[in-house]
């Protein structure tokens, strides 16, 4: 079994290193960020319909250089935004600054790291391919949904904190959200990824033979 554990470790390191390299360095592979950015903007928009939500590529305020591995979620009160537009039109102003705020998400850390961890651990686990791909698809879906929920919670907190006239939560609700946000850390995402692997991956792997052996021996 030792060679299997060693092979698992090496395969994991190889798969993780390669996938990080692909996402970071290979041209075109970073289009996955567009998908995540649109998903975050779309889901937060649906979850918080009273606010105007838009997703944008992050750009470094110091250099002005855009960074696809991060994003801004721009939000505002649609009533105030409409009013500002109407006032600008009435006064003949051609350029207007809309009353919006934003929050930034580091997509690589928030999404890619736990998702690539899952992909790598499934690739490295010795198991039959049917279970591997089925399990991987399910776990990626579940983890992705969790990460989107995390974005919704952070956005709700941020919108409420800015007091823009929508989703102005009471102190107790804000305190609750703050606790939820601190629990939904990267460490928690990784723990969830590990649990999902146990349920959908480890359970069908050859490692399970070790557990069965232990149990068989106990019941002798």
């Amino acid at each position: 079994m030792v060679p299997k554990i060693l092979k698992f470790t090496l395969f994991f390191l190889l798969a993780y290193g390669l996938s990080v390299f692909l996402v970071s360095k290979v041209p075109g592979a970073d289009s996955i960020y567009t998908l995540i950015r649109n998903a975050v903007g779309g889901v937060v928009g649906i979850a918080l319909p009273s606010a105007q939500i838009e997703s944008q590529v992050f750009s470094d305020p110091a250099t002005g250089k855009s960074d696809v591995s991060a994003m801004y979620l721009v939000y505002g009160n649609p009533v105030l935004m409409k009013k500002t537009m109407e006032e600008a039109l009435a006064s003949g102003v051609t350029q207007v600054t809309l009353p919006t705020r934003s929050i930034s998400f580091r997509l690589f850390e928030m999404f890619m790291v736990p998702l690539l961890f899952l992909v790598s651990i499934f690739i490295a686990t010795p198991m039959n391919h049917k279970h591997r791909w089925k399990g991987l698809i399910w776990t990626l879906l579940i983890l992705f949904v969790f990460l989107l929920i995390r974005c919704v919670v952070i956005s709700l907190f941020s919108i409420s904190n800015d007091r823009i006239g929508v989703y102005e939560l009471e102190d107790s609700a804000m305190k609750f959200l703050q606790t939820v946000i601190s629990i939904f850390s990267l460490g928690f995402s990784m723990s969830l990824a590990f649990v999902l692997w146990l349920i959908f991956g480890f359970r069908h792997s050859v490692f399970i033979d070790m557990l069965q052996n232990i149990f068989k021996n106990q019941s002798k």
Partner: protein, 176 residues
Amino acid sequence: MAGSWMEKWQTKPVIFRFLVAFGGLLVLFYAFYFSPLYEQFIMPGLLRFQAGISSTVLSILGYETRVDGDTLFGERLVVSIRGGCDGVEATALFIIAVLALPGVASRFKWQGIIVGGILLFILNIFRIVGLYLSGVHLPSFFEFFHLHGGVIAFLLISVVMWLIWVQWVMKKNLNQ
């Protein structure tokens, strides 16, 4: 009543019992990890302790640092050890996976927890020291090592250590 519940539980597949126990213990761990008791009374002391040991290791390596709370002050770098960088979550995953495994004698579990816990603690000190050194000598790689070395590698080590422990238990059982 409790007896019949236990009997029913014992008839469930091993993996089912393991996963349910793992999930339950994980929920308990996070309830404790984010409780005021841990955050206010245990975490600050643990981080201070880790910073102190890391500073000692760094001074052995020839890097003079001063410790204030959870922060290491060096000549060229200041590193703060935060909750989440304490290695507690990865260590907890290992301990929970050991505790949740059914059908294993408790002496094997305690041996695994003690040896594994100590090893992970030592590895976390090396992680902190390594991060400090990368901050001094390879500052552009600091974030890379922090994320991939600190989070991913540490979790992988926990998983591998658990698999090794399971194998060790299997061998012990076969020898009995």
